[in-house]
Symmetry: C2
Subunit: 445 residues, 2 copies
């Protein structure tokens, strides 16, 4: 029997009416003959309301363990209500906390990592023909303390559950109907992507697309879980994110059965294996800042010391760029981007070591923009990069940094011109809605 995991975010269960709509959708899926496990987030503003209460009772900042205890009440409410609503329609349903669903994590409160997923109770409920509702975002540590998975947590729960149950697909329901070739609020002509590879989605998520969290995409890639991102407000198909094969060593069944429809209720697209798109789409990110360390003696270990100092300060680094030294004094510069919230810590750490490392200066720019062009065609086609840089030049946009990977070209620009840059590149690659076989784009949700 086909097994689906359906994940509904907070906006899909924002109130009683929304919960009843989701219940109807789940029941319709179940009645089509598929087994259904549902992962649900907290209702609408619940999490924000709870955070507000927490800051009121603890002006000095709430204890992390207690904050996890508090916030997990949110999914407890939404999942119990959804189970009731489904049962009320005559379909048996049962809700499970992260702990009951076997979501074992480390004990890093607020940002716990999954260590083991053993959803035996969920599997049993499915075998009995029940709809299993699992709380997103939460788990339990070895010390039996309640943990939360941090940002992107509910998507990660859904993908992890789909992997552990060997589900045929993990459907991510959201308030938009899929991935777009660029953020439709910036590029109104952006088109919806029908299929994309997981690697391209990974680059999208890593470089600013917000519709799916990077961590959930990484998990899906690792365990070979096909994703289907679609709207909870319509029945039309969204974007299929397909995996060729799980990474070696991932403990999930091989991919051989994943691309052959095997039942009338098979939820996967019936067309042929996906074609190779030239360009997937454009992601952008405005949460970054930039640091340039000037005048590092050009000798082995220089970059390591700079990045090491920043890493020791607990700062996550995004892109790193260092060019070959061409200066007569043998000094080079190294630049990196990082989350803007970490900017002050990184600069402080570097200034402390400025003398020891022999750096001339540390320059800091808050609020840079990053544009990333993503697609399978990039690795074999230098004309893509040329067309991208030309489009930006013609739009009068200065490129401050460039970084590339096999399937991505990223540029750093002034944040004020980022939206112009997205539109210029989108247009240059003819990613408008009339075009076919063209992919991606995140909304700012």
């Amino acid at each position: 029997m086909t097994l689906l995991v359906q994940k509904f975010g907070g906006s899909s269960v924002s109130d009683v009416d929304a919960i009843r709509r989701v219940a109807q959708r789940v029941v319709a899926t179940r009645e089509s003959g598929a087994s259904v496990a549902v992962v649900v987030s907290a209702m609408g503003d619940t999490t924000d309301d709870l955070l507000d209460l927490a800051s009121q009772v603890s002006p000095n900042g709430p204890a992390e363990r207690e904050l996890d205890m508090l916030l997990t009440a949110g999914e407890r409410i939404s999942m119990a209500l959804l189970a009731m609503a489904i049962s009320d329609l005559g379909t048996p349903a049962r809700s499970f906390t992260g702990q009951q669903a076997g979501m074992r994590t480390d004990s890093s409160h607020g940002r716990a990592r999954l260590l083991d997923v053993t959803p035996a109770r969920v599997a049993k409920a499915l075998q009995r023909g029940e709809v299993a509702i699992v709380a997103g975002f939460q788990g339990v540590s070895d010390e039996e303390d309640i943990t939360t998975l941090g940002r992107g947590g509910s998507d990660t729960t859904a993908v992890a559950l789909a992997a552990a149950l060997n589900a045929d697909v993990c459907e991510i329901y959201t308030d938009v109907d899929g991935l777009y070739t660029a953020d439709p609020r910036i590029v109104p002509s952006a088109s919806r992507v029908t299929r994309i590879t997981i690697e391209e989605t990974l680059e999208m998520a890593a470089h600013g697309a917000k519709i799916l969290h990077l961590r959930a995409v990484e998990y899906a890639r690792r365990f070979g879980v096909p994703l289907h991102v679609r709207s909870s407000f319509s029945d039309q198909e969204g974007t299929w994110i397909l995996v060729d094969r799980p990474l070696t060593g991932a403990q999930t069944p091989g991919p051989t059965t994943r691309h052959t429809p095997h039942s009338a209720t098979d939820p996967r697209p019936s067309e042929d294996p996906m074609e190779d798109p030239i360009i997937s789409g454009i992601a952008h990110d405005r949460s970054l800042a930039k640091v340039t360390v000037v005048g590092i003696p050009d000798r082995p270990g220089g970059a390591s010391q700079v990045i090491g100092a920043v890493a020791t300060a607990g700062v996550n680094i995004d892109m790193i760029v260092q060019n070959v030294s061409t200066s007569p004094d043998g000094l080079s510069d190294i630049s990196f981007t990082l989350p803007e919230v970490d900017g002050a810590a990184a600069v402080a750490a570097l200034r402390e070591l400025q003398h020891d490392l022999g750096m001339a200066d540390v320059l800091y720019t808050s609020h840079v923009g990053k544009l990333s062009l993503i697609g399978a065609g990039l690795r074999s086609n230098p004309a893509v990069a040329q067309r991208m840089f030309t489009a930006l030049a013609e739009a009068g946009i200065n490129i401050e940094m460039i970084s590339t990977s096999e399937i991505r070209i990223s540029v750093i620009t002034d944040q004020d011109v980022l939206e112009d840059a997205v539109r210029a590149v989108h247009s240059a690659f003819r990613l408008d809605a009339e075009a076919e076989a063209v992919i991606y784009g995140g909304t700012g949700r």
Copy 2:
């Protein structure tokens, strides 16, 4: 070191300010040198709000298991916020769900019974000097399903925790400052009781006093837990409910150390062991209905069949009265009171068996009133009953049924005259506030 369990009900944690006030009280207790475990209910109207959501998503009535999952979110929120508020004042605090606190129950959702209480994690937290906050009302079944204890659940949690931890006292904080000789809303001159025995409190709770739930009092009696009922809005002492000795077989340390103050922070009253009051107080109950089965053949087994039929229908019976048969045809009547909500079910069950059991008729009166006079003096003093009946007669109140125990006399009256009856008896026994050594009275909370 002295160990206190402090229980705060929903009205004591109704909002952020109330939670911060409770936090200050807990911290003050902790700083006086005592160890403190706190049991907390859901905030103010949370439970009602959640029940409202449940009825909206499931018009056919919510599934019991899911209702427990939903409602337990309430204490999760209040306990996490209280732990944060206490930590914010510089005192380490840690919250525990019913499961984490070792509250093992049977799997009767909505009305689970405690099977085992093993608060190892709570004890460890206390040993570390932390304040332990435990969710009231909730537990976990052998199947690891979340359960709730039903009415009086948080009081029961507090008493059970106090017993398992061998606490010196279980303080029940509420919105009134103790037990009164009668409901102050009916008898404005009612006086606050300073001490009362657990047996008298048990009769009070069983016969309509609402300040402490019967079940919690039973648990306290069984395990020899001293209770102190007091106001969360003042520092003055409330009512001490003292236990001479736990029942045989209860697994709690003997009572020998319970009445000897053994430290400067000993929370117990410093006076001599309690004196024997003549009359404890007056309880009343207006939630009952009355059934009279007329014309039962006066032979062995008649009462058993009647009560058996009702019990089989799942109805709890309150008082049962059957007088000796004096009728020439050898028929007798049997009357019993029961919760009014169960009235229809009981009558239906009896009517079904009316012919088989040879009953002439089944009479039903909804909304009767019950007045109970409670005190240690009753067992040895028939004049007490006489004075009570005389007072009622002088007030023109008809007595429909009478039932007595060693320390209680209950009468059933028309519900319309119940308050007059309470005032008449209160006055007849001079229980007004001027009197000393006089006990009890529940508010309608």
